[in-house]
Amino acid sequence: MAATTTTPAPARTAPLQAELTPRARARLAGKHALLIALSLLMLFPLVLTISTAFKTEQDVQVNPFGLFSSFSTENIVTAWTVGGFGGYVLNSLLLTVPSTLIVLALSTMGGYAFARLPFPGRDLAFYVVVVGLLVPFFTYMIPLYFQLRGMGMLDSLVGVNLVLASTGVSFGTFFMRAFFSDLPVELAQAARMDGASEWQIFTRVMLPLVTSGMGALAVFTFLQNWNNFLVPLIYMPGGDYRPLTTGLYLFLGGRSIDIGPLAAGTLITILPVVVLFVALQKQVTQGLVSGAVKG
């Protein structure tokens, strides 16, 4: 990637603490105090969720939002079983994993073709694919409902996975094309001299060089699809494969007074996202930043 923001000029290393004047040191300490206060403010809703999710039933009724005043796992159990969140987790995976794999495969294939394999009508095909970047999902979500109904694809895992994938491939293709365009042309030429077929050049020479891009796209798409609310809301009216997002919404509508299990359900919904983000925060932020700049 050659985007401005991903290859910053070597940052000046901060002077060592010992070299700082007392005044500069006080300023730095003030900065950290402010940053910590702001971080806690940003994280407060998360803390509140965890605190309420692990309260005892009695405590939730008297004092639902007091921080960490009791401990119990009963809300988690209730949400998982009675609230149906165990099933929602499975459905979220069934909707997120296949759609992410489809986006990854089609975007990588298309990105390579659009970057490196000239064929008649290529420019037109590329415009058709990236039109999805300009036209928001809103524009066609209503006709798509009736189209899916006609195809018998409402409430279907296949249908909704394909819709989720279709909302991601425009960005994905654009993103992967940029990675392939940055690779030196000489690599393919050398492999061709050695008698490699075009397919071998793609899979054995080029693909291994864009794995970082594919990783970033995978994480980004996974988060996007996991968090998607509108697609399952509209295209899964029957609720057979209700994922966490619409499941949480349903629970909110039906049992919003059950704050304990609701908090537990919220925690179950966000936990995979939080874990994934904290573990891969560099890839997530870098993928997103370069994606925003390039895509």
């Binding site: 702001l38 073709a113 996202v273």
Partner: protein, 295 residues
């Protein structure tokens, strides 16, 4: 020979992508254009042609204008808020090395959470009797300001908007921080030696250097304001009494709750038409930014 093999593989790699995009994006988009000229109620197989009637009704519908003005408020405050706060945070963290990973995670985390979950938790914070916001206001002696934030028509839109700012500012922050890392510090230091104060250095030296990225992130945030849906739908459902209704929620309820399919589609199409100039501008900016990056 090589060219032919390349073209063949190119077509092969692009066909699955074009099929997916064609069926789930282009086709419903074309259908959308058809829908707005007829009066489709979701059932009649041959809906009557009504010409521009959907648009003339839309132009005279007070609900549409109310929603539109809420969109404008959302676009202005929902862009200015995250940009100002995100820039301030990025400047604050600019030269901080220690703990920067923690701060980055804390500020960015809200952005990657599912908005349904965000809506649930902020609903508790805004709760009239036990919510933290009112409790804090009472503690600091501003008890007169307390209200049921999401139930009061005067505050509902702004309360949801504040939540959206909390969500978006991390995105702005991460992108601007990485742009700041590319700023030429020699020029900033020279300006400091010449006696420029912090504000002057920011306005005359730093901002011009990150201007393309700054404009780009502004446009992305602004575009999001046109198609805002999830967070309003979850937190207020557009209410109370339409006080926080935007074009997106109105399009959804017209189509899926009132079965006014064509009217809802026309509304959604208007959102797109309004957003397109900004989208085109964004596209130009991005091309410029990535060109600068590769040079």
């Amino acid at each position: 020979m090589t060219r032919k093999a390349q073209a063949r593989l190119g077509v092969l790699l692009v066909v699955p992508l074009l099929l997916l995009v064609g069926i789930f994006l282009v086709f419903p988009m074309i259908n959308a254009v058809y829908y707005v000229f007829v009066d489709f109620n979701g059932i009649n197989p041959a809906p009557p042609w009504v010409g521009l009637a959907n648009f003339t009704e839309l132009a005279q519908d007070p609900d549409v204008w109310a929603a539109f003005s809420n969109n404008i408020i959302w676009i202005v405050l929902g862009t200015v808020g995250p940009i100002v706060l995100g820039l301030a945070l990025a400047l604050l963290l600019w030269h901080v090395e220690r703990g920067s990973v923690f701060y980055r995670v804390a500020f960015f985390l809200p952005y990657i959470l599912p908005q349904v979950a965000v809506g649930v938790v902020w609903g508790w914070i805004y709760e009239p009797s036990r919510g933290w916001l009112n409790k804090v206001l009472e503690t600091v002696g501003l008890g007169g300001l307390t209200t049921g934030w999401l139930g009061n028509p005067d505050t509902a839109l702004y309360a949801v908007l504040a939540t959206a700012v909390w969500v978006t500012l991390g995105f702005v922050f991460v992108i601007l921080l990485s742009a700041l890392k590319g700023v030429d510090m020699d020029i900033v230091d020279a300006a400091r030696l010449d006696g420029a104060n912090g504000w002057q250095r920011l306005v005359h030296i730093v901002l011009p250097q990150i201007m393309p990225v700054f404009l780009m992130v502004t446009t992305i945030t602004l575009l999001g304001g046109f198609s805002v849906f999830d967070i309003i739908f979850v937190m207020t459902g557009g209410g109370p009494a339409g006080a926080s209704e935007v074009l997106g929620t109105l399009a959804y309820s017209s189509a899926f709750q009132l079965n006014r399919i064509s009217y809802g589609t026309a509304l959604a199409l208007v959102i797109t038409l309004l957003a397109i100039p900004f989208a085109v501008w964004l596209n130009r900016l991005q091309r410029r930014v990535s060109l600068e990056g590769t040079s």
